[in-house]
Protein backbone atom coordinates (compact mmCIF):
# COMPACT_ATOMS: atom_id res chain seq x y z
CA UNK A 1 0.00 0.00 0.00
CA UNK A 2 1.74 3.17 -1.16
CA UNK A 3 2.15 6.24 1.01
CA UNK A 4 0.93 9.45 -0.53
CA UNK A 5 1.33 12.70 1.34
CA UNK A 6 1.69 13.53 4.98
CA UNK A 7 -1.07 12.11 7.14
CA UNK A 8 -1.86 9.00 5.12
CA UNK A 9 -1.75 5.98 7.38
CA UNK A 10 -3.86 3.45 5.56
CA UNK A 11 -5.74 2.82 2.35
CA UNK A 12 -8.65 0.67 1.27
CA UNK A 13 -8.44 -1.58 -1.77
CA UNK A 14 -11.65 -0.77 -3.62
CA UNK A 15 -11.21 -2.90 -6.68
CA UNK A 16 -8.73 -5.28 -8.19
CA UNK A 17 -8.43 -4.85 -11.92
CA UNK A 18 -6.58 -8.13 -12.31
CA UNK A 19 -6.83 -11.61 -10.87
CA UNK A 20 -4.36 -14.38 -10.17
CA UNK A 21 -2.91 -15.73 -13.36
CA UNK A 22 -3.27 -12.48 -15.34
CA UNK A 23 -0.28 -11.30 -17.28
CA UNK A 24 0.47 -7.69 -16.48
CA UNK A 25 2.70 -5.16 -18.13
CA UNK A 26 4.65 -2.24 -16.79
CA UNK A 27 2.38 0.76 -16.38
CA UNK A 28 -0.83 -1.23 -16.26
CA UNK A 29 -3.33 -0.29 -13.59
CA UNK A 30 -3.97 -3.24 -11.32
CA UNK A 31 -6.04 -1.79 -8.48
CA UNK A 32 -8.09 1.15 -7.32
CA UNK A 33 -7.23 2.27 -3.80
CA UNK A 34 -9.22 4.66 -1.63
CA UNK A 35 -7.42 7.16 0.56
CA UNK A 36 -8.85 10.16 2.36
CA UNK A 37 -7.75 12.56 -0.28
CA UNK A 38 -8.56 10.74 -3.47
CA UNK A 39 -9.08 7.43 -5.15
CA UNK A 40 -5.78 6.29 -6.56
CA UNK A 41 -5.16 4.00 -9.48
CA UNK A 42 -2.12 1.91 -8.64
CA UNK A 43 0.16 0.85 -11.48
CA UNK A 44 2.49 -2.09 -11.56
CA UNK A 45 5.96 -1.17 -12.64
CA UNK A 46 7.17 -4.28 -14.32
CA UNK A 47 5.97 -7.05 -16.56
CA UNK A 48 4.94 -10.23 -14.87
CA UNK A 49 2.20 -12.60 -13.91
CA UNK A 50 -0.09 -12.02 -10.95
CA UNK A 51 0.58 -14.82 -8.56
CA UNK A 52 -1.65 -13.88 -5.66
CA UNK A 53 -3.78 -10.98 -4.48
CA UNK A 54 -3.10 -10.67 -0.77
CA UNK A 55 -5.63 -8.04 0.24
CA UNK A 56 -9.31 -8.52 -0.61
CA UNK A 57 -11.54 -5.85 -2.09
CA UNK A 58 -12.93 -3.66 0.62
CA UNK A 59 -10.10 -4.27 3.08
CA UNK A 60 -8.33 -1.34 4.64
CA UNK A 61 -4.64 -1.89 5.36
CA UNK A 62 -1.79 0.20 6.75
CA UNK A 63 0.64 1.88 4.42
CA UNK A 64 3.48 -0.51 3.65
CA UNK A 65 1.36 -3.65 3.49
CA UNK A 66 2.16 -5.88 0.54
CA UNK A 67 -0.92 -5.91 -1.67
CA UNK A 68 -0.06 -8.57 -4.22
CA UNK A 69 2.64 -10.85 -5.50
CA UNK A 70 3.83 -10.97 -9.05
CA UNK A 71 6.27 -13.32 -10.55
CA UNK A 72 8.62 -12.11 -13.23
CA UNK A 73 7.90 -14.80 -15.82
CA UNK A 74 5.27 -17.47 -16.27
CA UNK A 75 7.99 -20.10 -15.89
CA UNK A 76 9.07 -18.69 -12.53
CA UNK A 77 5.53 -19.09 -11.30
CA UNK A 78 5.72 -22.84 -11.47
CA UNK A 79 9.24 -23.07 -10.02
CA UNK A 80 9.69 -24.07 -6.42
CA UNK A 81 9.68 -21.06 -4.07
CA UNK A 82 13.11 -19.74 -3.27
CA UNK A 83 14.55 -18.50 -0.02
CA UNK A 84 12.49 -17.41 2.98
CA UNK A 85 13.19 -13.75 2.22
CA UNK A 86 10.47 -13.89 -0.40
CA UNK A 87 7.76 -13.70 2.25
CA UNK A 88 7.86 -10.36 4.03
CA UNK A 89 5.42 -9.60 6.81
CA UNK A 90 3.39 -6.43 6.32
CA UNK A 91 5.81 -3.58 6.77
CA UNK A 92 5.35 -1.04 9.57
CA UNK A 93 3.70 2.10 8.23
CA UNK A 94 6.04 5.02 7.59
CA UNK A 95 6.00 7.46 10.45
CA UNK A 96 7.70 10.67 9.51
CA UNK A 97 7.92 10.44 5.76
CA UNK A 98 5.72 11.03 2.81
CA UNK A 99 8.11 9.72 0.17
CA UNK A 100 6.54 8.07 -2.86
CA UNK A 101 6.58 4.34 -2.36
CA UNK A 102 4.20 1.85 -3.96
CA UNK A 103 6.10 -1.34 -4.50
CA UNK A 104 3.13 -3.59 -4.74
CA UNK A 105 4.76 -6.59 -6.30
CA UNK A 106 7.09 -9.24 -5.10
CA UNK A 107 9.21 -10.89 -7.74
CA UNK A 108 10.57 -14.39 -7.38
CA UNK A 109 14.17 -13.68 -6.46
CA UNK A 110 17.04 -15.35 -4.72
CA UNK A 111 17.41 -14.77 -1.03
CA UNK A 112 18.60 -11.33 -0.05
CA UNK A 113 20.69 -10.25 2.88
CA UNK A 114 19.15 -7.18 4.46
CA UNK A 115 20.37 -5.66 7.69
CA UNK A 116 17.79 -4.64 10.31
CA UNK A 117 18.71 -0.98 9.85
CA UNK A 118 18.16 -1.11 6.11
CA UNK A 119 14.96 -3.08 6.56
CA UNK A 120 13.68 -0.40 8.95
CA UNK A 121 14.61 2.36 6.53
CA UNK A 122 12.81 0.50 3.77
CA UNK A 123 9.76 0.19 5.99
CA UNK A 124 9.77 3.91 6.59
CA UNK A 125 10.03 4.58 2.88
CA UNK A 126 7.24 2.11 2.23
CA UNK A 127 9.49 -0.04 0.07
CA UNK A 128 9.29 -3.80 -0.15
CA UNK A 129 12.92 -4.67 0.37
CA UNK A 130 12.64 -8.13 -1.12
CA UNK A 131 12.15 -6.53 -4.50
CA UNK A 132 15.39 -4.60 -4.45
CA UNK A 133 18.56 -5.58 -6.20
CA UNK A 134 21.38 -5.29 -3.69
CA UNK A 135 24.49 -3.50 -4.82
CA UNK A 136 26.51 -4.27 -1.74
CA UNK A 137 29.06 -7.09 -1.59
CA UNK A 138 27.44 -10.48 -2.17
CA UNK A 139 24.18 -8.87 -3.29
CA UNK A 140 23.53 -7.23 0.06
CA UNK A 141 20.78 -4.62 -0.06
CA UNK A 142 22.29 -1.37 1.16
CA UNK A 143 20.84 1.88 2.42
CA UNK A 144 21.76 3.42 -0.91
CA UNK A 145 19.64 0.84 -2.73
CA UNK A 146 16.66 1.76 -0.54
CA UNK A 147 17.16 5.48 -1.05
CA UNK A 148 17.51 5.01 -4.79
CA UNK A 149 14.32 2.99 -4.89
CA UNK A 150 12.51 5.64 -2.86
CA UNK A 151 13.28 8.19 -5.52
CA UNK A 152 12.65 5.79 -8.37
CA UNK A 153 9.83 7.22 -10.37
CA UNK A 154 9.23 4.14 -12.45
CA UNK A 155 6.22 3.48 -10.25
CA UNK A 156 3.61 6.18 -10.17
CA UNK A 157 0.20 6.51 -8.67
CA UNK A 158 -2.41 8.33 -10.61
CA UNK A 159 -4.77 10.43 -8.51
CA UNK A 160 -8.34 10.35 -9.61
CA UNK A 161 -10.11 13.41 -8.32
CA UNK A 162 -12.79 13.91 -10.90
CA UNK A 163 -14.07 12.08 -13.93
CA UNK A 164 -11.13 10.05 -15.20
CA UNK A 165 -10.30 9.43 -18.84
CA UNK A 166 -12.76 7.48 -20.95
CA UNK A 167 -12.79 3.72 -20.40
CA UNK A 168 -11.47 1.33 -23.03
CA UNK A 169 -14.37 0.19 -25.15
CA UNK A 170 -15.13 -3.31 -23.94
CA UNK A 171 -18.60 -4.78 -24.15
CA UNK A 172 -20.14 -4.99 -20.70
CA UNK A 173 -20.51 -8.61 -19.63
CA UNK A 174 -23.09 -7.67 -16.99
CA UNK A 175 -20.60 -7.82 -14.11
CA UNK A 176 -19.77 -4.89 -11.87
CA UNK A 177 -17.45 -4.67 -8.88
CA UNK A 178 -19.15 -4.18 -5.50
CA UNK A 179 -17.71 -0.70 -5.25
CA UNK A 180 -18.92 0.18 -8.74
CA UNK A 181 -22.37 -1.05 -7.84
CA UNK A 182 -22.42 1.15 -4.75
CA UNK A 183 -21.27 4.19 -6.71
CA UNK A 184 -23.81 3.53 -9.42
CA UNK A 185 -26.61 3.28 -6.85
CA UNK A 186 -25.53 6.57 -5.29
CA UNK A 187 -25.66 8.27 -8.66
CA UNK A 188 -28.91 6.67 -9.72
CA UNK A 189 -27.24 4.77 -12.55
CA UNK A 190 -27.78 1.22 -13.75
CA UNK A 191 -24.40 -0.53 -14.00
CA UNK A 192 -25.76 -2.87 -16.67
CA UNK A 193 -26.15 0.15 -18.92
CA UNK A 194 -22.50 1.10 -18.65
CA UNK A 195 -19.52 -0.02 -20.67
CA UNK A 196 -17.05 -1.86 -18.48
CA UNK A 197 -13.28 -1.47 -18.61
CA UNK A 198 -12.40 -3.89 -15.83
CA UNK A 199 -11.41 -7.55 -16.14
CA UNK A 200 -13.66 -9.43 -18.59
CA UNK A 201 -15.52 -6.23 -19.31
CA UNK A 202 -16.73 -5.80 -15.76
CA UNK A 203 -17.94 -2.34 -14.82
CA UNK A 204 -15.53 -0.72 -12.40
CA UNK A 205 -15.62 2.57 -10.52
CA UNK A 206 -14.00 4.63 -13.24
CA UNK A 207 -16.73 3.63 -15.66
CA UNK A 208 -19.37 4.89 -13.24
CA UNK A 209 -17.46 8.09 -12.64
CA UNK A 210 -16.96 8.68 -16.35
CA UNK A 211 -20.68 8.34 -16.82
CA UNK A 212 -21.69 10.93 -14.28
CA UNK A 213 -20.19 13.01 -11.52
CA UNK A 214 -22.92 14.25 -9.23
CA UNK A 215 -22.70 16.90 -6.51
CA UNK A 216 -23.24 14.17 -3.90
CA UNK A 217 -20.14 12.24 -4.84
CA UNK A 218 -18.17 15.43 -5.22
CA UNK A 219 -19.14 16.66 -1.76
CA UNK A 220 -18.16 13.35 -0.26
CA UNK A 221 -14.69 13.45 -1.68
CA UNK A 222 -14.26 17.14 -0.85
CA UNK A 223 -15.06 16.32 2.77
CA UNK A 224 -12.57 13.49 2.81
CA UNK A 225 -9.94 15.80 1.43
CA UNK A 226 -10.67 18.36 4.10
CA UNK A 227 -10.12 15.69 6.70
CA UNK A 228 -6.82 14.67 5.18
CA UNK A 229 -5.63 18.26 5.02
CA UNK A 230 -6.78 18.75 8.61
CA UNK A 231 -4.65 15.81 9.75
CA UNK A 232 -1.62 17.03 7.86
CA UNK A 233 -2.00 20.50 9.36
CA UNK A 234 -2.45 19.07 12.84
CA UNK A 235 0.69 17.09 12.38
CA UNK A 236 2.54 20.12 11.05
CA UNK A 237 1.45 22.23 14.01
CA UNK A 238 2.25 19.49 16.49
CA UNK A 239 5.60 18.33 15.20
CA UNK A 240 7.27 21.26 13.49
CA UNK A 241 8.64 24.12 15.60
CA UNK A 242 7.82 26.99 13.24
CA UNK A 243 9.45 30.38 13.17
CA UNK A 244 8.20 33.18 10.96
CA UNK A 245 9.96 35.99 9.15
CA UNK A 246 8.43 38.46 6.76
CA UNK A 247 9.19 41.45 4.65
CA UNK A 248 7.23 43.93 2.57
CA UNK A 249 8.87 44.23 -0.81
CA UNK A 250 8.68 47.10 -3.32
CA UNK A 251 7.84 45.25 -6.55
CA UNK A 252 6.84 48.30 -8.56
CA UNK A 253 9.82 48.12 -10.90
CA UNK A 254 9.45 44.37 -11.20
CA UNK A 255 5.82 44.66 -12.23
CA UNK A 256 6.64 47.43 -14.68
CA UNK A 257 9.25 45.14 -16.25
CA UNK A 258 6.66 42.37 -16.48
CA UNK A 259 4.01 44.61 -18.01
CA UNK A 260 6.43 45.79 -20.67
CA UNK A 261 7.42 42.24 -21.41
CA UNK A 262 3.83 41.00 -21.57
CA UNK A 263 2.75 43.91 -23.80
CA UNK A 264 4.88 42.40 -26.54
CA UNK A 265 3.58 38.89 -26.08
CA UNK A 266 0.33 37.29 -27.24
CA UNK A 267 -1.95 36.23 -24.41
CA UNK A 268 -0.88 32.60 -24.53
CA UNK A 269 2.76 33.55 -23.93
CA UNK A 270 2.30 36.03 -21.09
CA UNK A 271 3.82 35.51 -17.68
CA UNK A 272 1.99 35.82 -14.38
CA UNK A 273 3.68 37.67 -11.50
CA UNK A 274 3.52 34.40 -9.55
CA UNK A 275 6.05 32.89 -11.92
CA UNK A 276 8.59 35.56 -11.02
CA UNK A 277 8.17 34.71 -7.35
CA UNK A 278 8.61 31.01 -8.08
CA UNK A 279 11.83 31.54 -10.01
CA UNK A 280 13.22 33.91 -7.39
CA UNK A 281 12.44 31.40 -4.65
CA UNK A 282 13.94 28.51 -6.61
CA UNK A 283 17.18 30.42 -7.23
CA UNK A 284 17.39 31.30 -3.54
CA UNK A 285 16.84 27.66 -2.57
CA UNK A 286 19.70 26.60 -4.82
CA UNK A 287 21.99 28.83 -2.78
CA UNK A 288 20.47 27.91 0.58
CA UNK A 289 20.35 24.12 0.62
CA UNK A 290 19.47 23.98 4.31
CA UNK A 291 15.94 25.02 3.36
CA UNK A 292 15.62 22.67 0.40
CA UNK A 293 14.88 19.20 1.67
CA UNK A 294 13.11 17.08 4.22
CA UNK A 295 13.24 16.53 7.95
CA UNK A 296 13.03 12.79 8.43
CA UNK A 297 13.83 10.71 11.45
CA UNK A 298 15.46 13.46 13.44
CA UNK A 299 17.73 14.74 10.70
CA UNK A 300 17.65 17.06 7.76
CA UNK A 301 18.02 15.36 4.38
CA UNK A 302 19.00 17.89 1.72
CA UNK A 303 17.71 17.17 -1.74
CA UNK A 304 19.93 17.73 -4.77
CA UNK A 305 17.25 19.30 -6.95
CA UNK A 306 14.98 22.25 -6.25
CA UNK A 307 11.48 20.84 -6.63
CA UNK A 308 9.19 23.70 -5.81
CA UNK A 309 5.74 22.83 -4.53
CA UNK A 310 3.05 25.25 -5.71
CA UNK A 311 -0.15 25.46 -3.67
CA UNK A 312 -3.10 25.11 -6.01
CA UNK A 313 -6.69 25.50 -4.90
CA UNK A 314 -9.14 22.93 -6.06
CA UNK A 315 -12.28 24.59 -7.26
CA UNK A 316 -14.55 22.48 -5.06
CA UNK A 317 -12.45 23.11 -2.00
CA UNK A 318 -9.19 21.62 -0.86
CA UNK A 319 -5.62 22.26 -1.78
CA UNK A 320 -2.80 20.34 -3.34
CA UNK A 321 0.81 21.41 -3.73
CA UNK A 322 2.48 19.45 -6.54
CA UNK A 323 6.07 20.21 -7.39
CA UNK A 324 7.71 21.79 -10.40
CA UNK A 325 10.89 19.81 -10.59
CA UNK A 326 14.25 21.56 -11.01
CA UNK A 327 12.47 24.89 -10.91
CA UNK A 328 15.78 26.74 -10.56
CA UNK A 329 16.97 25.48 -13.93
CA UNK A 330 13.90 26.48 -15.90
CA UNK A 331 13.30 29.63 -17.88
CA UNK A 332 10.37 31.86 -16.96
CA UNK A 333 8.47 30.67 -20.04
CA UNK A 334 9.10 27.07 -19.07
CA UNK A 335 7.92 27.74 -15.50
CA UNK A 336 4.77 29.40 -16.80
CA UNK A 337 4.04 26.38 -18.96
CA UNK A 338 4.71 24.03 -16.07
CA UNK A 339 2.45 26.07 -13.78
CA UNK A 340 -0.34 26.10 -16.32
CA UNK A 341 -0.02 22.35 -16.79
CA UNK A 342 -0.02 21.70 -13.03
CA UNK A 343 -3.10 23.82 -12.44
CA UNK A 344 -4.91 22.03 -15.24
CA UNK A 345 -3.99 18.55 -14.06
CA UNK A 346 -4.56 19.34 -10.39
CA UNK A 347 -8.08 20.50 -11.06
CA UNK A 348 -9.05 17.87 -13.59
CA UNK A 349 -7.30 14.84 -12.12
CA UNK A 350 -4.17 13.28 -13.53
CA UNK A 351 -1.53 14.32 -11.04
CA UNK A 352 1.08 11.74 -10.22
CA UNK A 353 1.48 10.98 -6.53
CA UNK A 354 5.20 11.49 -6.81
CA UNK A 355 4.64 15.06 -7.96
CA UNK A 356 3.17 15.89 -4.59
CA UNK A 357 5.64 13.94 -2.50
CA UNK A 358 8.65 15.29 -4.42
CA UNK A 359 8.28 18.88 -3.26
CA UNK A 360 11.26 20.22 -1.33
CA UNK A 361 9.66 23.56 -0.42
CA UNK A 362 6.24 25.11 -0.98
CA UNK A 363 5.11 28.52 -2.21
CA UNK A 364 1.55 29.67 -1.68
CA UNK A 365 0.16 32.69 -3.45
CA UNK A 366 -3.03 34.28 -2.15
CA UNK A 367 -3.68 36.16 -5.34
CA UNK A 368 -5.21 39.56 -5.82
CA UNK A 369 -8.35 38.84 -3.81
CA UNK A 370 -6.43 37.46 -0.86
CA UNK A 371 -5.13 39.00 2.32
CA UNK A 372 -2.07 41.19 2.59
CA UNK A 373 -0.02 38.55 4.32
CA UNK A 374 0.01 34.83 4.71
CA UNK A 375 1.80 33.01 7.48
CA UNK A 376 1.17 29.42 6.70
CA UNK A 377 1.97 25.96 7.96
CA UNK A 378 4.82 23.92 6.58
CA UNK A 379 3.85 20.65 4.93
CA UNK A 380 5.86 17.89 6.56
CA UNK A 381 8.46 16.64 5.87
CA UNK A 382 9.46 19.91 4.18
CA UNK A 383 11.24 22.54 6.26
CA UNK A 384 10.06 25.76 4.67
CA UNK A 385 7.04 27.54 3.22
CA UNK A 386 6.67 30.95 1.58
CA UNK A 387 3.36 32.79 1.72
CA UNK A 388 2.86 35.54 -0.83
CA UNK A 389 0.24 38.15 -0.03
CA UNK A 390 -1.76 40.42 -2.28
CA UNK A 391 0.04 43.01 -4.38
CA UNK A 392 -0.96 46.25 -2.64
CA UNK A 393 -0.07 49.86 -3.31
CA UNK A 394 1.52 51.35 -0.20
CA UNK A 395 3.13 54.62 0.78
CA UNK A 396 6.87 54.10 0.49
CA UNK A 397 9.83 56.10 1.66
CA UNK A 398 12.37 56.95 -1.01
CA UNK A 399 15.17 59.19 0.22
CA UNK A 400 13.28 61.81 2.16
CA UNK A 401 10.02 61.70 0.21
CA UNK A 402 7.01 59.44 0.32
CA UNK A 403 5.78 57.88 -2.90
CA UNK A 404 3.31 55.13 -3.71
CA UNK A 405 4.72 51.80 -4.74
CA UNK A 406 3.14 48.46 -5.48
CA UNK A 407 4.31 46.12 -2.74
CA UNK A 408 3.90 42.53 -1.68
CA UNK A 409 4.43 40.90 1.70
CA UNK A 410 6.55 37.75 1.65
CA UNK A 411 6.11 35.56 4.72
CA UNK A 412 8.59 32.78 5.35
CA UNK A 413 7.73 29.93 7.70
CA UNK A 414 10.63 27.64 8.53
CA UNK A 415 11.37 24.60 10.67
CA UNK A 416 13.52 25.70 13.57
CA UNK A 417 15.15 22.27 13.73
CA UNK A 418 16.62 22.73 10.27
CA UNK A 419 17.42 26.45 10.29
CA UNK A 420 17.36 29.48 12.52
CA UNK A 421 16.26 33.08 12.11
CA UNK A 422 19.62 34.21 10.84
CA UNK A 423 19.76 31.62 8.06
CA UNK A 424 16.09 32.13 7.31
CA UNK A 425 16.63 35.86 7.06
CA UNK A 426 19.50 35.45 4.62
CA UNK A 427 17.33 33.13 2.53
CA UNK A 428 14.44 35.60 2.48
CA UNK A 429 16.82 38.37 1.47
CA UNK A 430 18.05 36.22 -1.39
CA UNK A 431 14.51 35.72 -2.67
CA UNK A 432 13.90 39.46 -2.54
CA UNK A 433 17.18 40.20 -4.26
CA UNK A 434 16.28 37.94 -7.17
CA UNK A 435 12.69 39.17 -7.36
CA UNK A 436 13.70 42.82 -7.57
CA UNK A 437 16.08 42.13 -10.46
CA UNK A 438 13.60 40.45 -12.83
CA UNK A 439 15.90 40.69 -15.82
CA UNK A 440 18.15 38.15 -14.09
CA UNK A 441 15.40 35.62 -13.49
Amino acid sequence: MPALGAGMESGRVLEWHVRAGDVVHRGEIIALVETDKANIEVEVFEDGVVEELLVPEGAKVPVGTVLARLTSTPEARTAAPQAPDRAPAPLPPPTATSEPAAVVSDVAVHSRVVSPLVRRLAGQRGIDVTHLAGTGPGGVVTRHDVEAAATDRATSVRTVLAAPEAPRTVRAAGRASPYARRLAAEHGLDPAALTGSGPDGAVVARDVLAAKVTPASVEGSAEAMRQAIARAMERSNREIPHYHLGETVDVDATLAWLEESNAQRPANARLLPAVLVLKATALALRDHPDLNGHWIDGAFRPVAGVHLGVAINLRRGGLLAPAIRHADERSLDDLMGALRDLVERTRSGGLLGSEIADATFTVSNLGDRGAESLQGLITPPQVGYLGVGRITPRPWAVDSTVVVRRTVYLGLAADHRASDGHRGGRFLSAIISHLTRPETL
Binding site: V218, E259, N262, A263, P266, A267, N268, R270, L272, P273, A274, N313, R315, R316, L339, R340, V343, G367, D368, R369
Partner: protein
Protein backbone atom coordinates in the same frame (compact mmCIF):
# COMPACT_ATOMS: atom_id res chain seq x y z
CA UNK B 1 -21.02 38.19 -34.56
CA UNK B 2 -23.73 39.97 -32.62
CA UNK B 3 -23.93 40.73 -28.94
CA UNK B 4 -25.98 37.61 -28.25
CA UNK B 5 -23.32 35.37 -29.78
CA UNK B 6 -20.57 37.19 -27.94
CA UNK B 7 -22.37 36.69 -24.64
CA UNK B 8 -22.85 33.00 -25.42
CA UNK B 9 -19.15 32.66 -26.16
CA UNK B 10 -18.14 34.38 -22.96
CA UNK B 11 -20.42 32.12 -20.93
CA UNK B 12 -19.10 29.05 -22.72
CA UNK B 13 -15.48 29.91 -21.98
CA UNK B 14 -16.34 30.71 -18.36
CA UNK B 15 -18.05 27.36 -17.98
CA UNK B 16 -14.88 25.67 -19.16
CA UNK B 17 -12.85 27.53 -16.55
CA UNK B 18 -15.33 27.12 -13.70
CA UNK B 19 -17.15 23.91 -14.62
CA UNK B 20 -18.90 23.45 -11.32
CA UNK B 21 -20.64 26.83 -11.59
CA UNK B 22 -23.42 28.26 -13.73
CA UNK B 23 -22.03 31.47 -15.23
CA UNK B 24 -25.41 32.20 -16.84
CA UNK B 25 -26.79 32.70 -13.35
CA UNK B 26 -24.14 35.23 -12.37
CA UNK B 27 -25.03 38.93 -12.08
CA UNK B 28 -23.59 40.40 -15.30
CA UNK B 29 -22.21 43.40 -13.45
CA UNK B 30 -20.52 41.45 -10.69
CA UNK B 31 -16.77 40.95 -10.46
CA UNK B 32 -16.04 37.44 -11.75
CA UNK B 33 -13.07 37.08 -9.44
CA UNK B 34 -15.51 37.08 -6.54
CA UNK B 35 -18.54 35.48 -8.17
CA UNK B 36 -16.72 32.59 -9.79
CA UNK B 37 -13.60 32.59 -7.60
CA UNK B 38 -11.29 33.23 -10.56
CA UNK B 39 -7.60 33.65 -9.86
CA UNK B 40 -4.98 35.29 -12.06
CA UNK B 41 -4.39 32.09 -14.02
CA UNK B 42 -8.13 31.79 -14.69
CA UNK B 43 -8.27 35.41 -15.84
CA UNK B 44 -5.36 34.92 -18.21
CA UNK B 45 -6.96 31.74 -19.55
CA UNK B 46 -10.21 33.63 -20.06
CA UNK B 47 -8.73 36.31 -22.27
CA UNK B 48 -6.47 33.81 -24.04
CA UNK B 49 -9.32 31.47 -24.96
CA UNK B 50 -11.76 34.21 -25.90
CA UNK B 51 -9.06 35.80 -28.03
CA UNK B 52 -8.34 32.52 -29.78
CA UNK B 53 -12.01 31.90 -30.48
CA UNK B 54 -12.54 35.38 -31.92
CA UNK B 55 -9.20 35.65 -33.67
CA UNK B 56 -8.15 38.76 -31.78
CA UNK B 57 -5.46 39.50 -29.24
CA UNK B 58 -6.60 41.12 -26.02
CA UNK B 59 -3.74 43.20 -24.63
CA UNK B 60 -2.98 42.96 -20.93
CA UNK B 61 -3.88 46.60 -20.39
CA UNK B 62 -7.46 45.81 -21.51
CA UNK B 63 -7.80 42.71 -19.34
CA UNK B 64 -9.40 44.60 -16.47
CA UNK B 65 -12.38 45.39 -18.69
CA UNK B 66 -13.25 41.70 -18.86
CA UNK B 67 -13.73 41.31 -15.15
CA UNK B 68 -17.50 41.35 -15.45
CA UNK B 69 -19.67 39.58 -18.00
CA UNK B 70 -21.21 42.88 -19.05
CA UNK B 71 -17.82 44.50 -19.38
CA UNK B 72 -16.53 41.57 -21.43
CA UNK B 73 -19.50 41.63 -23.80
CA UNK B 74 -19.23 45.41 -24.32
CA UNK B 75 -15.49 45.30 -24.90
CA UNK B 76 -15.58 42.37 -27.29
CA UNK B 77 -18.55 43.66 -29.27
CA UNK B 78 -16.81 46.97 -29.88
CA UNK B 79 -13.51 45.27 -30.72
CA UNK B 80 -15.23 43.11 -33.31
CA UNK B 81 -17.13 46.08 -34.74
CA UNK B 82 -13.93 48.02 -35.27
CA UNK B 83 -12.10 45.16 -36.98
CA UNK B 84 -14.70 44.73 -39.69
CA UNK B 85 -17.32 42.10 -40.52
Amino acid sequence: MNEHDVRALVLEVLTGIAPETDPAAVDPGADLRDELDLDSMDELNLITRIGERLGIDIPERDAARLRTIEGAVDYLTSRLASTGP
